[in-house]
């Protein structure tokens, strides 16, 4: 039988590969835009940092999609599914390796920011001082570690929820595709997509509200204890989806044929 840690290792390394490829693309983009400012003649020591900041949203979005694709592939590829391990542990190793790969990307992004920030420090230090001043009177100023961890938690929970939902949709449609005649398959797929899009919209709009409220309360210095309720609700949904996903995996989801 395959050990959980070994499967996790194997799955992570295949996802880290995707992250590395993404980082290379980002570095290429940063290089190109920096060369562009060099040509235009407004290159300074802080250009690299601005360029990294400018591109930074892209890796987060792309990595989400990339990791979702890798995550789903593992469910329907014999390469992974033939590992002798229970479906529950398989699911856990897969999702955990996805999360860890995302955290890895986060760390790489921070390193990139820190390195380029240090290069341009002479120009950026005054900006940093201004930021310090404005933050001093908010929650972030008084408890920076706690707030950062809180934000990270919320972000991870949102990502987890999104990945679990993508899995649920994928596994339902995959199970249905084996069992129903082709004509009815399309109807079921259609219904699943519509329902999922509706639910996703609801959840996203709810989350947006939560985040907006949360950031205002963070910055405004009011108490932030109640936003944990939102996180708890999301965790509950994740738990339900996880159980459903493992059940589907165990009973109905087949791998794609060679």
């Amino acid at each position: 039988m395959t050990k959980f840690s070994d499967l996790f290792k194997a799955m992570s390394s295949s996802k880290f590969r995707s992250i590395h490829q993404l980082m290379l693309l980002e570095l290429a983009a940063v290089a190109v835009s920096s060369i562009w400012s060099l040509i235009r003649g407004d290159f300074s020591s802080a250009t690299l940092f601005y360029s990294v900041m400018g591109w930074s949203i892209i890796p987060y979005l792309v990595s989400f999609v990339l990791l979702a694709v890798r995550n789903e592939q593992a469910f329907t590829r014999d390469t992974f599914r033939l590992a002798p391990i229970s479906d529950g542990l398989f699911y856990a190793a897969n999702l955990l390796s996805t999360v860890v790969s995302f955290l890895y990307l986060l760390v790489l992004q921070l390193v990139l920011m820190a390195v380029t920030g240090l290069i341009g420090w002479s120009m950026l230090s005054s900006m940093y001082d201004n930021m310090q001043m404005s933050l001093q009177y908010s929650d972030l100023g008084s408890n920076p570690v706690g707030v950062c961890l809180g934000m990270l938690t919320v972000m991870l929970v949102i990502y987890l929820l999104a990945w679990s939902t993508v899995s649920l949709v994928h596994l339902i449609t995959s199970a249905a595709s084996n069992y129903l005649p082709r004509a009815r398959q399309r109807i079921v797929n259609g219904i699943v997509y519509v329902v999922m899009i509706l639910i996703t919209f609801r959840v996203v709009s709810y989350l947006m509200g939560q985040i907006a409220w949360m950031s205002s309360s963070l910055m405004g210095g009011t108490t932030v204890s109640s936003w944990w309720i939102g996180v708890l609700i999301m965790i509950l949904i994740i738990a339900i989806e996880t159980v459903a996903n493992i059940f589907l995996l165990n009973k109905w989801v087949e791998t794609t044929t060679n």
Partner: protein
């Protein structure tokens, strides 16, 4: 001799169409068994049901275990490495196998890879069809399991590669293990088979010893195989 595989009353439908029904099959240890049948007869499906990759109805036991996760630990299937992107090098795939399969024997793999002239530094995308099949065979046989399922290892492969692959199967097959090889062209593997299982009309049409066909019926295996199709049995073209 004990059973390495015991299938009872197995049925499988896909999109409400029957692919296999009433399948009963028992294989004993230490054999090389040919799984024959037309394209789309259900040979691959049968193998996928044994590994648990496809979900059917009925009982499947491999080395006495029916639970899917345990079954997987007794079965090595020649999967086609679709889980790897093309940029993967052969050695990286080997490392993956070594990580997730505790029964993967690296020394065995190395010996086979050397015999089959596999270049580990090559990317998957750079492999010819024959070379890729050699990698798949070496990976599949490098695991130390009770049952090996080789799904059409010779389709589209030149005769030199085929001979090498056949030799490596003979050389590295563990004594007690059973190998099930599917093929729709019998002659190329006929001399190495102990037994033959023919899939036809959603079920197992025959399960017979290879020398029994030659001895008792005085027929070539290929002729015997074709004779089963002559008496009006309709072949099935669904996958």
């Amino acid at each position: 001799m004990s059973n390495v595989l015991a299938i009872k009353d197995l049925a499988y439908k896909q999109n409400r169409k029957t692919i296999l029904s009433n399948v009963d099959l028992e294989l004993t240890t230490g054999k090389i068994v040919g799984l024959l049948g037309e394209n789309g007869a259900g040979k691959t499906t049968l193998m996928r049901l044994i590994t648990g990759s496809a979900k059917g109805k009925g009982a499947i036991e491999v080395s006495g275990d029916s639970e899917i996760a345990k079954r997987k630990s007794h079965v090595s299937f020649s999967e086609q490495l679709h889980g790897f992107s093309n940029g993967y090098k052969v050695d990286q795939v080997v490392h993956f196998y070594e990580t997730i399969y505790p029964d993967f024997d690296h020394a065995r793999y190395d010996a086979m890879a050397k015999f089959l002239q596999v270049d580990g530094t090559k990317k998957l995308s750079a492999l010819s069809k024959g070379m890729k099949e050699k990698v798949v065979i070496a990976l599949t046989l490098a695991r130390q399991t009770d049952l090996y399922l080789l799904d059409e290892p010779f389709s589209g492969i030149d005769s030199m590669s085929r001979k090498r692959i056949i030799s490596s199967i003979l050389q590295w097959k563990p004594d007690d293990a059973t190998i099930l090889i599917s093929d729709h062209y019998v002659t190329e593997i006929a001399p190495i088979l102990d037994e033959i299982v023919i899939v036809k009309d959603h079920g197992i049409a025959t399960h017979i010893g290879a020398d029994a066909i030659r001895d008792e019926k005085g027929m070539e295996i290929e002729d015997y195989y074709e004779s089963l199709y002559e008496d009006g049995g309709d072949a099935d073209d669904e996958i």
